[in-house]
């Protein structure tokens, strides 16, 4: 986890304003350290392949041709909305997390993370939502969730699911 955090910090320093989403965001909000060894992030200004190559980032020749950092960590770069969360909401509700004394990284906020995971509803998202529900339920600002979903019914459904997951032991 510390390695991944240090890598996230280096990416922030090399590529400028980026917001980490995915497993790293869940880890930082919940302290649940189950994640795969890759980093997903949103870039605030588009970044070209040439710029990445100039910064020693590498593109693999296999499969979907993913990018790797100069230190060999796989990355997924997003330039627009993530499921059910607008680009504006990603930026507006992002949160700064310190990385030791070396600096800080920006991470997807708790409310957009909850909305994105509730929309995806894959097995791993449900487990992550359960971790969030158990440790952060009282910190969720439901007005913010409502402003992201733009829908009272969906917000109520998310709240009901999280309250159930918080009390469920499986």
């Amino acid at each position: 986890m510390n390695n991944l955090l240090n890598e996230a910090l280096k990416i922030s320093q090399e590529l400028g304003d980026v917001i980490f989403i995915g497993a790293l965001a869940t880890c930082l909000h919940t302290k649940n350290r189950r994640d795969s060894q890759d980093l997903d992030f949103v870039v605030l200004s588009p970044i070209s392949d040439e710029e990445l190559l100039a910064k020693k980032y590498k593109k693999s020749l296999t499969g979907k041709q993913p990018w790797f950092t100069p230190r060999g960590v796989k990355i997924d770069i997003y330039t627009r909305d993530i499921p059910s969360v607008s680009f504006e909401a990603i930026v507006k509700y992002s949160k700064e997390f310190p990385v030791g004394k070396k600096g800080s990284i920006r991470v997807l906020g708790l409310e957009p993370l909850v909305v994105a995971k509730h929309t995806a509803q894959r097995d791993q998202d449900i487990e992550d939502l359960q971790s969030i529900a158990k440790s952060k339920l009282k910190e969720i600002d439901w007005d913010v969730v409502r402003s992201i979903t733009g829908d009272k019914y969906k917000t109520d459904l998310i709240k009901k699911d999280l309250e159930f997951l918080a009390k469920s032991n499986t």
Partner: protein, 225 residues
């Protein structure tokens, strides 16, 4: 003693009920279950069947279905021992820190074996492990040992004891089935195990294509000219 097939045929109405529900995180007994089961008493009968083998969690008129219920019958039959072990699992913590895990790793009961997070990590190097799940011959004896060393039984520790159902001849397949039975992030572990050790598995679970593609994609390593 009931065979796994007999047990499954007993809970079959519950499994049929689970497969008829639209995929959701949680459901209401009154609104969602009654639509499928026909009445509140029937809905609860179906849910209690599922609960008996760890395929549902019911709480105050709301419930959750373990997606392992959606596996094909021949896979589900193999999952029953894992489901029962997970249902009866006991969680322990002392300092609620990695030191708890190190303690048990250094003091593993005789004939015990590690499964889920830590074993999946050893087999695949895919997801970092979080909790130490250990199958033991005698769960009461192992629990008492942990308690004597200052551990408490609760919901938030990182040590999880599982009652061994039988001696597994194929450890990789056992871990694979445990991952499917547990669900959540362990589904990704199961897929990673199948991708890396598919030749050691006599049975294959059913996974979403997006999940398989995600794990395949995540496991790619850098290849440049």
């Amino acid at each position: 003693m009931q065979t796994m097939q007999q047990l499954l045929s007993k809970v079959e109405p519950g499994i049929r009920f689970a497969t008829m529900l639209a995929p959701r995180i949680s459901y209401s007994v009154k609104t969602d279950a009654v639509q499928v089961a026909g009445s509140i008493p029937t809905a609860y009968r179906r849910l209690h069947l599922l609960e008996s083998i760890g395929l549902a969690t019911v709480r105050r008129g709301q419930f959750k279905i373990n997606r392992a219920a959606l596996q094909p019958p021949h896979v589900l039959e193999k999952l029953v021992p894992s489901l029962l072990a997970l249902k009866m699992a006991r969680r322990f913590g002392r300092k609620y820190h990695v030191s708890d895990i190190n303690f048990l790793k250094n003091n593993l009961p005789e004939n015990s074996f590690i499964t889920l997070d830590y074993k999946a990590w050893e087999l695949t190097k895919y997801q970092l492990p979080q909790d130490l799940y250990v199958y033991v011959d005698d769960i009461d004896k192992a629990s008492n040992f942990l308690k004597s060393k200052g551990f408490s039984n609760g919901n938030s520790g990182h040590i999880v004891l599982l009652q061994k159902q039988h001696d597994s001849k194929n450890i990789i397949e056992q871990v694979y089935l445990d991952c499917i039975a547990k669900g959540g992030r362990n589904i990704l572990d199961a897929i990673a195990i199948e991708l890396k050790h598919g030749d050691k598995l006599n049975i294959k679970g059913k996974f979403g294509i997006d999940d398989v593609l995600k794990v395949q994609d995540d496991m790619q390593t850098l290849k440049v000219e």
